[in-house]
């Protein structure tokens, strides 16, 4: 399936006398719905969070891609963007937030700190060296901090990833591009 086709509604409408019937595949329907209404959790621990806020504002406007409903509670969020350094004291808090999010849930590791500890990799006693020690990560964005465009790219990449999921289990299908 070509990339442009996946962005549109994944179904055919068959006209009948009293209206119509929608024919689709369950997986494609669910993935279409999920990937276009990802609600991010309001979570930022340092300078990457400033870029994340910038991505939400009018200039970059992530609501164009279905991310506009940022939630202040993990119970209503689908996506956590780990924007900033995670220190040892924050790690249990992050884990708890992730655990409180309902499935299906996704994680974007934004910036060098969340990938590996970044500038705090050496000679630091307090920083977690990669957020994937604490929670599973779907998409990594390098940068210190990444620009809003990079974050948007990561979010669109995540949407692509979701579109390859199967309903039973989170396993990814072969990318048939």
């Amino acid at each position: 399936m070509a990339e442009t086709e996946k962005m549109i509604f994944p179904a055919q409408l068959h006209q009948t006398a009293d209206g119509g019937i929608v024919v689709s595949k369950l997986d494609e329907m669910i993935n279409w719905a999920r990937s276009n209404s990802l609600w991010p959790l309001v979570f930022g621990t340092s300078c990457c969070a400033i870029e994340m806020m910038s991505a939400a504002d009018a200039k970059y406007d992530w609501s164009r891609f279905g991310f506009e409903v940022a939630r202040a509670t993990p119970r209503q969020a689908d996506l956590i963007i780990v924007a900033g350094t995670i220190v040892m004291k924050m790690a249990p808090v992050l884990k708890r937030l992730y655990d409180q999010m309902p499935d299906p849930k996704y994680v974007i590791a934004m910036g060098a700190c969340t990938i590996s500890g970044g500038p705090f990799f050496y000679n630091t006693y307090s920083v977690v060296k990669g957020v994937d020690h604490v929670i599973p990560v779907d998409v990594y964005i390098p940068g210190c901090p990444p620009r809003p465009e990079a974050l948007l790219h990561a979010m669109i990449t995540l949407q692509e990833k979701i579109k390859h999921e199967t309903y039973f289990g989170k396993s990814t299908k072969e990318e048939g591009k």
Partner: protein, 151 residues
């Protein structure tokens, strides 16, 4: 007051103190046991009136620890530094000043957290930045962390 006037007047009450003027501020060096009365005098005495403790920290010199207090008077516009040497590195103790300046409460908790200095009569001496189960004091020169990657 000028530095000279402060020196004269402090020496009149506390003859044991020594001074160091090599840096930006006038440094008053006092032994840990006499710190509290000196601090009380600096705060309450009208001619000093040091009403603002703008920095409280500690230095690890390996052989000893040094408590450092930066004081400022908003009425007289003068400032000084008070230093107190803690000779016992294994069990450093000093009287709290958080009943004189409220801001010292958290500053002393931070110094306790990172240097392990015990502040006597502190109302709530718990770790501040690190979690409660942390072992050791990271800003001490002899702190060892196996997980730390050094270059």
């Amino acid at each position: 007051m000028t530095n000279e006037e402060i020196k004269q007047s402090v020496s009149a009450i506390f003859p044991a103190v020594t001074y160091d003027e090599s840096g930006e501020f006038l440094n008053i060096l006092i032994d840990a046991a006499n710190l509290k009365p000196l601090m009380l005098a600096l705060r309450s005495n009208k001619e000093y009136s040091f009403d603002f403790l703008f920095c409280l920290t500690c230095i690890d010199w390996k052989t000893h620890l040094m408590m450092v207090y930066h004081l400022l008077s908003k009425t007289h516009r003068h400032n000084i530094v008070v230093k107190a040497k803690l000779a016992d590195v294994n069990n450093p103790q000093i009287e709290t000043v958080c009943d004189i300046w409220q801001t010292a409460n958290f500053h002393e908790r931070e110094v306790y957290d990172l240097f392990g200095v015990k502040f006597l009569n502190h109302p709530d001496l718990r770790r501040l930045l690190l979690d409660e189960n942390w072992e050791g004091y990271p800003l001490r020169k002899n702190y060892v962390d196996e997980n730390m990657i050094t270059i």
